[in-house]
Assembly symmetry: C2
Homo-oligomer: 270 residues x 2
DNA sequence: CCAAAAGTGTTTTCTTTACACCCATGC
DNA sequence: GCATGGGTGTAAAGAAAACACTTTTGG
């Protein structure tokens, strides 16, 4: 880590790191068929709508020592950005998310308060409830509800806000919600995910129709009894839900070329 | 620029730069009221639909010497990422775009062919036709149609493909198309932008209704005579087109806090 | 007058929303 | 039985698409 005087540092390239915003739902939305009653006693204020939670790590170094921050690590040049994000997750939280996508790259001199100038390539991860339980809370790693966050280090609060904004937007036009439930789920559970993300109640009947007619769901044939009412059918997402998520081109250079050839042809047709 | 042996480089942080994908339309879409007949003789294959063009710069250094590449520059730590993108644009093309937004950050060991490992924070810019003409083509700077690109340096071809994909997506749910026309435009000109980006013809009547009812357009009162037919009314976008473009939080830390307070409240309402 | 694009009206179709109602289960 | 959420039906409202038609210009 090269240290020079101030004017030297200003002209040189900033330091580079990856951080990850991890999001999960509490019990109302995240259950896959089976037992699902943990994480419930933290005092839900809105009993009807689940809340979004994220794990934070406590910093052990200055600046912002003892503050909570997003998991992250410095970037090495021998692995991909995505792998670096995975590695950062692994080393701090042991999580292995279904969904990991680049969110945004934050930089600029205003981010360097107290430390070196820093550019952070931020990924975001969505985990189902089963995965979320794999995180072992400790003194330095802890879940927080997104609507009751502590003071965060650096500009991490803005980063979380941005991730939540992106989630609310993206849930409208992609099947991203599937990443916050388990592999198999009832329509009510999936609806609770949408309700938690959007912050409002949805009509169960219309929700059902919309999702089923989208063709992305697949009935498992199984059903789940929960409480004194009719059992709910269990669904899963159809394999390879097409063309809704991120652009494949950015994920891997190998698959990119294959997909691009078909898709990209501006000024064609008609 | 620190050089060591190979294993030292692998562990250290990669180099960091910004690149910019600049997009503009040819005459069919980009004209603001007035004369607009340049850039037309390059052999349009689809006379009814305009094409997207982008400027490239010729590399003067290895690797990929003499190849065409996206404008870019190394990143310094004393300016914001966005300003760095602006600076890169300014120094190579003299363009000053209406629209400049972060596109994606590309990295990973596979990008380092022949050179140092490199992370590129890529911005994309959209310019109107008047601005596009400000670019002085030279031996080392030249416009290319996106459907007839030369071989590009590094993975810049994938980056351009990704930008085009993003444009096609984003035009559906934002007023981003306005950035490819001038400040004032007829509905036909705006429609030509949509047609060029989407690659298909649109019904003029329905297009008119859709755009006008969206409330984002404002009649100027002026009209434009062009050819032997009824003159077209000239519109402009209403100032501060709200809530459609990018999340303001990532643009400037100052305005971010103000906007976030109102917007972000997951699990609220209802 | 004619050609061509601007602009309006109308019908059809599809999607979304609201809400009434039936079904299957535990108690 | 009856309360509860799962699941279906249906009508009204709204948005998008298709297309006939009128208007205003240059030639």
């Amino acid at each position: 880590m090269p240290l020079g005087n101030v004017s030297e540092r200003r002209r040189s390239a900033p330091d580079l790191g990856v951080s990850v915003v991890i999001l999960a739902l509490d019990k109302h939305g995240g259950a896959s068929a089976g037992t699902c009653d943990s994480m419930e006693s933290q005092g839900l204020s809105k009993p009807e709508v689940g809340r979004l939670w994220l794990p934070l790590v406590r910093r052990v170094k200055q600046p912002f020592r003892d503050c909570w921050a997003l998991p992250g690590a410095g970037l090495r040049s021998d692995i991909s950005l995505e792998d670096a994000a995975f590695a950062a997750l692994e080393s701090t939280t042991k999580l292995h998310p279904h969904y990991l996508e680049q969110l945004y790259t934050f930089g600029g001199p205003h981010r360097s308060q107290g430390g070196l100038p820093m550019v952070s390539i931020v990924y975001w991860a969505l985990v189902g409830q089963a995965e979320a339980e794999a995180l072992h809370e400790a003194h330095n790693v802890q879940w927080f509800a997104t609507d009751a966050l502590p003071t965060l280090a650096f500009d991490h609060a803005s980063i979380v806000d941005y991730a939540l904004w992106r989630l609310r937007n993206k849930i409208e036009y992609s099947s991203i919600a599937s990443r916050l439930v388990g592999d198999e789920f009832t329509l009510a559970q999936l609806r609770h995910v949408y309700e938690a993300v959007l912050g409002k109640a949805l009509d169960p009947a219309n929700f059902r129709r919309r999702l089923l007619s989208s063709g992305t769901l697949q009935a498992t044939g199984k059903s789940q009894v929960r409480g004194r009412h009719r059992p709910a059918a269990i669904y899963r997402y159809a394999a390879g839900t097409p063309a809704d998520e991120a652009y494949e081109g950015v994920l891997s250079a190998v698959t990119a070329n294959r997909l691009l050839a078909d898709r990209i042809s501006v000024g064609d047709s008609q």
